[in-house]
Amino acid sequence: MADFIPHTPEETREMLRFVGVTSLEDLTRQYPSAQTFPELPLAGSGMTERELLAEMELWGRQNSGSSRAVVFRGAGSYEHFIPEAVHSLTSRGEFLTSYTPYQPEASQGLLQAIFEFQTAISRLYGMDLSNASLYDGATAAAEACLVAVRHTGRSVLLVSEGLDPAVVSVIRTYTTGLGVSLRTVPLSEGRTRAEDLRNLLSSDVAAFIGSIPTFWGTVEDFSGFREMLSGQGALFLLHANPHSLAILRTPGEWGADIATGEGQPLGVPMSGGGPYLGLMTASRAFMRKIPGRLVGQTTDQEGRRAYVLTLQAREQHIRREKANSNICSNETLLSIGATIYLALMGPQGLVEAASASHQNAMKLKKGFSEIPGVRVLHEGVPHFHEFMVELPMDARSFSISLLERGYLGGLPLAGVGRIGGENRMLWCATEIRTDAEIGGVLAAVKEILAGGNRR
């Protein structure tokens, strides 16, 4: 049993005497005595470090979909190369065990790291500014929608069918109590047709939110969207994979008002789905409207450069029910990790990783297109590092067959939106996949298809 309590028995006795109580239990006399000290049978009798690690290793070993599988799955969480230095530096106790830098003088390094994060992310997205992070990509998109609703005073959100259905689900949850309605802007062959957007636009529309790339892997051309939306007084929101922005046109270049994203591809391990890193960037017009912490550069009393949390009057601890969000704790450690990742990669490294991801995915896609009975969807439309295929069999059992062969294949899309389907899968390849692995998974696919639904 461990408890990380430093007191010796003698110290405990002396401290109790000093406080004027007879025992540790006596300190709880302020609590209703009928309810104190419940039995906790599940809590067990405690463990040593070694026992703990043994138990946790056992849980870990029961995850065959992890390190023992070659990952060809994305759909919002991506396996990229993460330099060792990211983990090493974010493990430093001054970053790991500090909290929100309310005392700027004692947190200059942390504040500067966040400021550098804001700078790197705003540059990557081509936007004027970035906040210090939100919980994950989905909540960032939802918060952007709330900014649009408040800013315009309107209650309709046009949501692209290209957006991750899980993100749409979170937007729906976040707006449910606020009288906001969501309308889907359909995709046609993996892209939004301008006339579909035009037909849905009205003076009730707060914003349109699109995706770079789409959940289904395609890359859209948003030319003219900005003008169409601002003509109706609606905001243009884009939810973008930051990794893709090394090579794809940025939200800023498309004219977005607010751009969000899931920062996980920037040096954050997949970790079963979290903690992840919500990114929010905006044009300067929305500087005081966006939620989340912001670090600003200023000077100290003697004119030295200094960093502080700023524009705090937007936030819950000051404005309470009138705040622009309830967010307090965010994902700072991961934002520092992302900054370290981006610094290590540099502009060239990020382009190389994104380009290799794209090329590997295209190799895999070509491989699928040559397998009889398999149909690659959205052929002829540009893709980043994901694409859809339709199999001649149920994708879920197919996926399990692949897992048994050591591959975490594409995501089965049964029940995933209108574009999904029982036989459809969303495949992904990142820069870390080798030609041998791509060849290997294609061979496994052929083998499973040849053997039917063999388990």
């Binding site: 005081r288 524009l311 009057a313 000051i318 404005r319």
Partner: protein, 134 residues
């Protein structure tokens, strides 16, 4: 505090502008001191109708936000755009260049129900409260 400026218990002032039936609204010297350095003013939309006591604008200091209420019912007919680039005007010249918005009361008689200068002075001396957090 020259007449005919009028005051609210929430520390706004209201004074006739150069045009009839149009009044400027700002915060009092007492209020600007309580607020400390104003860093941002959220100005209302021109044309908005605000009931008496309704929130018309928000001013922010580093550590707080304050609602500015309409002294009487009326319509916002202009705003002091200089505050966008220089919110410190509110501290430096609260009764002059630090005015916040221009206002047309629904009923000009309502203005007479507000405190005059001596009454506001008395109100302050009697410990007339603090600006309300927004």
């Amino acid at each position: 505090m020259p007449e005919p400026r009028r005051y609210t218990r929430t520390h706004e002032w209201m004074a006739p502008s150069d045009t009839p039936e149009q009044w400027n609204v700002g915060i009092t010297d007492f209020a600007q001191k309580e607020v400390t350095d104003v860093v941002f003013v959220e100005l209302p939309k021109v044309g908005r109708q605000v009931p008496r006591g309704g929130e018309a604008a928000i001013i922010e200091s580093v550590k707080a936000a304050f609602s500015i209420y309409a002294p009487v019912g009326g319509t916002i007919i202009g705003v002091n755009q200089e505050l966008e680039s220089d919110p410190g005007l509110l501290n430096r010249d609260p009764y002059g260049k630090g005015w916040i918005f221009r206002f047309r009361p629904d009923h000009s008689a309502d203005v007479q129900s507000l405190m005059d200068g001596p009454a506001y002075e008395t109100f302050l001396q009697e410990g007339g409260g603090h600006p309300e957090h927004g």
